[in-house]
């Protein structure tokens, strides 16, 4: 399938309002009304989307290989854990937000069956194209839709989805509180949100080892394999700037989620947050 053909089948990104929204102050204190973080840099909020897009356009084709290399394959187990915690059943409507190359979508598509539907949404067209090609190569076509969308302005009706997942995507969103509110809106009552994201390791020793790995080895691996060390430096920095477990839990509660819990995986390197809309 040609690239033009592929692009024609992706729903258009709805125009995002370019206003600088006031943060609910759950995000890092250094952020102001008009600025946000891009790794360790403080930038204008309006610039973040294009800067993050630049990173993911650059790494899209090597994304899966790098994920396996960087996490020694453990990201597959983290995603499996997310599927196990999702409670997905035949007939469900699932939104895999920031779904990238479609690892979660592939499993959800098999589990919801013909009666169900999975929407793979990502703000980045390159990631979406790689994901769609991968899923089609696996023969997964019947119940998957592809939508290019910004998590802050989800282009779906209220109360649409039974499950929303966002795996390794929330930290790249400019206004996380707004994204959580947007997700809350599209979830059906009784639906659940699962946020799989890098977090803060529980033990100091692990934290130090993780820091050394992230800032010394990871960018070099990125340089060698994806020929892009800078993007992987951003990855390490963005992980450190992402809210820790308790802060994210509070942010979810502020957005309206109930029975919010989290589970640390691999010593807190990654955490899975779960919250319900009632």
């Amino acid at each position: 399938m040609s690239s033009t053909d592929q692009n024609s089948q992706i729903s258009d990104l709805p125009t995002s309002p370019k206003t600088a929204d006031t943060d609910t102050s759950s995000d890092n204190l250094a952020e102001s009304k008009s600025t946000t973080h891009f790794g360790y840099k403080t930038i204008e909020k309006d610039d973040k989307i294009s800067m993050v897009a630049g990173v993911f356009h650059s790494v899209a084709k090597q994304y899966d290989v790098m994920n396996d290399l960087m996490s020694f394959g453990i990201h597959r187990l983290w995603k499996r854990f997310t599927i196990d915690a999702s409670g997905v059943r035949p007939g469900n409507k699932v939104l895999d937000l920031a779904g990238g190359t479609g690892d979660l979508t592939a499993k959800f598509s098999q589990l919801v069956g013909r009666e169900g539907k999975v929407v793979l949404a990502d703000i980045n067209s390159s990631m979406l194209n790689v994901g769609r090609d991968k899923l089609r190569d696996k023969g997964l076509v019947q119940n998957i839709e592809y939508v290019q969308a910004n998590a802050e302005y989800l282009p779906f009706e209220e109360n649409t989805f039974d499950i929303v997942t966002i795996a390794f995507g929330l930290r790249n969103v400019t206004d996380k509180d707004k994204a959580l509110r947007s997700i809350y809106s599209v979830l059906k009552p009784g639906g659940r949100l699962l946020v799989l994201e890098f977090s803060k390791p529980e033990h100091e020793l692990l934290n130090k080892a993780y820091d050394f790995y992230s800032f010394n080895i990871l960018p070099k691996m990125g340089e060698l394999v994806a020929k892009d060390g800078e993007s992987y430096k951003y990855l390490a920095e963005s992980i450190r700037m992402h809210p820790d477990q308790e802060t994210l839990k509070v942010m979810m509660e502020n957005a309206g989620f109930e029975q919010t819990t989290f589970k640390n995986l691999t010593g807190g390197v990654v955490a899975l947050h779960k919250g319900y809309k009632f």
Binding site: L77, W78, R80, I83, G87, Q110, G113, K263, L265
Partner: protein, 239 residues
């Protein structure tokens, strides 16, 4: 899911050591994502085996999107198998946690072995060795499909190793199997011989006890006879 892992790591003082060790082992296995690693491996093996199935009549249509959950006493987590059939291709998805299952079987590996040995299902349920929750037909259909699988391991092996090495390997395997079977039969025959012939020649404990008793009786009789002879001698000497 818990609010914090640290809370779960602090055992309640009233809990028994067994509960604490179970809690720690669960935390250890969950922390290392062992259940997910296990399901990943099991799923890979099952789907590889399905891809090698030569029995074209095997049909999963009746249990498409159905889930069978197995809770084994030996594992700290359940195993759920969901069938996904799209056109003619079927895959099984294995998970560790499912909120709604069409059929849940709670048992142990030992009981499953008994089932294989054709022990009655009802009998095992009565003995509380097996518990079935949900539609038992789902479990039966899963079992029937597993039994109907026909995999030509020899051809599959030849594809990877080549014809000659596979032939040699299987010959070697057959030799080893024959040799093990022959040794087993010899041991069986020897034991039979021993039981039929040799065992009869061996003096048993009861026989030794009886012999001892008989020897004692004879000794007593000899003593009595000796006393009578002594008495007779003394009578003759008096006269």
């Amino acid at each position: 899911m818990q609010g914090s892992n640290k809370q779960a790591l602090t055992p309640n003082s009233t809990k028994s050591s067994e509960q604490v060790s179970t809690q720690l082992s669960t935390l250890f296995s969950e922390g290392l994502l062992l259940p997910q690693a296990a399901t990943s491996a099991i799923e890979l093996i099952i789907n590889k085996a399905l891809a090698l199935n030569n029995n074209k009549s095997t049909s999963f249509a009746s249990i498409n999107q159905k889930t069978l959950t197995l809770k084994l006493a030996e594992f700290s987590f359940p195993l759920s198998f969901t069938v996904n059939t799209v056109s003619s291709s079927t895959s099984i998805i294995v998970r560790t946690h499912v909120e709604s299952s069409d059929c849940t079987i709670t048992t142990s590996i030992n009981t499953l072995k008994k089932l294989k040995a054709n022990q009655s299902l009802t009998q095992l349920i009565k003995q509380d060795e097996l518990d079935v929750n949900g539609d038992i037909k789902i479990a039966q259909q899963f079992a029937n499909i597993v039994q109907s699988l026909a995999i030509d391991w020899q051809s599959e092996l030849a594809r990877h190793l080549g014809d000659v090495p596979t032939h040699k390997l299987l010959q070697f395997g057959n030799k080893i199997t024959k040799s093990i079977l022959a040794t087993g039969k010899k041991i069986e025959a020897d034991i039979g011989d021993y039981l039929v012939h040799e065992k009869r020649l061996v003096v048993t404990t009861s026989q030794i006890t009886a012999f001892n008793q008989q020897a004692k009786d004879i000794a007593n009789k000899v003593d009595t006879l000796s006393a009578r002879i002594d008495k007779l001698f003394s009578t003759v000497a008096d006269k």
